[in-house]
């Protein structure tokens, strides 16, 4: 649906080059919610603007629905833009217009007949749950309501693609959740491809199917949400995962372990998918001559599926412990943890 093919965007700033986007290759499939995560200045804002050519690539191709946008004339580009909705961190609504007129704006500039326009505005306001606010001005609305207006406006022309530029970054956590739920409905009910950029891992965790991590203009890692959470490879990705899932064993626990000295058998068990719900540990404790001591752990939800890890200490005879590990391994992933390394 959206294809970045060796795309770079270089700015000339005071004699030196700034590579905002550096040789990016990405393919975003139809109907998926694709997240691009990165710290500020990573180039993700530029990347999303390359899709509708608000920024022109310095080199490479941006192909949307089989069409190389960089080759289009201005009028044709404007027509393509009508099929690509966009929402923004600061909503960017017309302050001088009511909610109704804001949502009607993209239809009005396309010359949609009045009756059809009104019907569509009513329909889409209903969808985002703002029918009762149609005649209010943006400044009378809360942040979440403004973003709903933004979404309604972006969807008015029934686009195939929705670009989200830090769409929830200015919202509180509760509102963020409700906006994300709405975006998910947008994808599920209209089968719209969503490309969202964010610096918040919890946003990615909540709704994205696949994710790319950006740093210094480059995509440093990409994969499904489970790949990224279960085995983040790049240190930056690991940092992001850590923002929503504590991966390290807390210092206080490590200290306690080291103080007691002696040989310890500490393992990290990672639960993915359906296994997170199974009583593996209690089964191990029953079947083998081992005691299971849970030191630390965290289970979270990735797209409605539990995911997480536990750090446990297995106490007992070496032979029994090995058998226990064997059993665990057949179900979930388990690794030994060095007490001093965490």
């Amino acid at each position: 649906m959206i294809e970045f093919d060796g795309v770079s965007k270089v700015y000339q700033a005071g004699g030196h080059e700034l590579r905002a986007v550096d040789e990016v290759d990405l393919t975003i499939r139809k109907g998926e919610i694709f997240g691009v995560i990165g710290f500020s200045g990573a180039g993700k804002s530029t990347l999303v603007r390359l899709v509708n050519l608000l920024e022109r690539p310095t080199s490479g191709r941006v192909v949307v629905d089989g069409e190389d946008l960089t080759r289009l004339s201005k009028p044709k580009l404007r027509n393509v833009r009508k099929r690509i909705g966009m929402i923004f961190q600061h909503f960017n609504l017309l302050e001088s217009k009511t909610v109704r007129h804001n949502v009607a704006f993209p239809l009005a500039i396309s010359g949609v007949p009045k009756r059809e326009l009104q019907a569509r505005v009513e329909e889409i306001l209903e969808f985002v749950g703002l029918s009762d606010k149609a005649d209010q001005y943006p400044e009378e609305l809360s942040g979440g309501q403004k973003q709903r207006v933004g979404i309604a406006r972006a969807l008015a022309t029934s686009p195939d693609i929705l670009l989200c530029d830090e769409a929830t970054s200015a919202l509180d956590p509760e509102t963020t959740k409700s906006i994300l739920r709405l975006l998910k409905r947008v994808r599920d009910e209209y089968n719209i491809t969503i490309l969202m950029i964010t610096h918040e891992m919890n946003v990615v965790r909540e709704i994205c199917d696949r994710v790319a991590v950006m740093e210094n203009g480059k995509v440093i890692e990409k994969g499904t949400i489970f790949d990224l959470f279960s085995s983040p490879k790049h240190p930056t990705t690991q940092n992001f995962v850590r923002t929503v899932m504590e991966n390290e064993i807390p210092a206080s626990i490590l200290e306690g372990i080291e103080r007691r000295g002696s040989e310890r058998n500490i393992y990290r068990i990672t639960f993915i998918n359906e296994h997170a719900g199974e009583p593996i540990l209690s089964r191990v404790a029953k079947q083998f001559q081992v005691e299971v001591n849970v030191l630390f752990g965290q289970i979270t939800e990735l797209q409605g599926t539990p995911f997480g890890h536990l750090v446990v200490e297995l106490q007992g005879e070496d032979k029994e412990i090995l058998r226990a590990i064997d059993h665990i391994q057949s179900n979930v992933s388990i690794q030994e943890v060095e007490a001093h390394a965490g």
Partner: protein, 220 residues
């Protein structure tokens, strides 16, 4: 020879009329020139909608040039031009020409600053929706900045009231002319006070109306 203020009222009324006429016509014409100029300055600047540095530089320089000439000098310097346009270099109509040339560049800058207050994000959103530059000017820039433009035009109007006082130099008449030729040069204190009070009233009323309309636009 003292002039009786009571007998002088018709002269004052006539002068008031002349001032309102000069200011009104000049404002209208100067806005017709200044508004598009201001728009051009905003859309052609670096990073603008229709970025074009040479066009921007030319217009910006011309605007600065006319803005830097003191009005009294401009008034005299363009006399031949005035004669060409209105057929005469004296009278109220003749005063309108320099007033327009004086205030149009000023209005251009005021409009420019109003338009620059429009959040770039809103313009970007319209671009992302596939709006043409023309649509963005008429449906985004102007409506979003209209309240601020109204306030700025009020400032320009009051500036015009001040400048029109100097138009007496080319026989333009008006309240300022009366204050200078009777009140100042002939020491008719009554007339000076009466005309100045009238000017104060005009400025007050103008500002009140301008502020009211601006608020009205902001909260339709």
């Amino acid at each position: 020879m003292q002039v009786n203020l009571a007998d002088f009222w018709p002269r004052i009324l006539e002068a008031t009329n002349q001032t309102l006429l000069m200011v009104g016509i000049s404002l209208l014409l100067a806005t017709l020139i200044g508004l598009p100029l201001g728009i051009i300055l905003v859309v052609t600047r670096g990073g603008g909608l229709l970025e074009n540095r040479s066009v921007f530089n030319v217009f910006s320089t011309v605007v600065n040039f006319f803005r830097s000439i003191p009005f009294i000098i401009l008034l005299v310097a363009i006399l031949p031009f005035t004669r060409l346009i209105v057929g005469s270099s004296i009278g109220t109509a003749a005063a309108v020409v320099p007033l327009v040339i004086f205030s149009a560049p000023y209005i251009a800058r005021l409009v420019e600053s109003s338009l620059l207050e429009v959040k770039p994000g809103v313009v970007e959103a319209a671009e992302a929706m596939g709006a043409t530059p023309w649509q963005i000017i008429w449906r985004v820039y102007i409506p979003e900045a209209l309240s601020s433009i109204t306030l700025n035009l009020t400032i320009a109007t009051i500036g015009l009231v001040g400048a029109s006082a100097m138009a007496g130099f080319v026989g333009g008449g008006g309240l300022g002319d009366l204050a200078i030729s009777y009140g100042y040069q002939r020491f008719e204190t009554d007339i000076m006070i009466a005309t100045v009070l009238l000017l104060v009233l005009i400025v007050q009323v103008t500002q009140t109306i301008g502020t009211f309309i601006s608020k009205k636009i902001r909260r339709q």
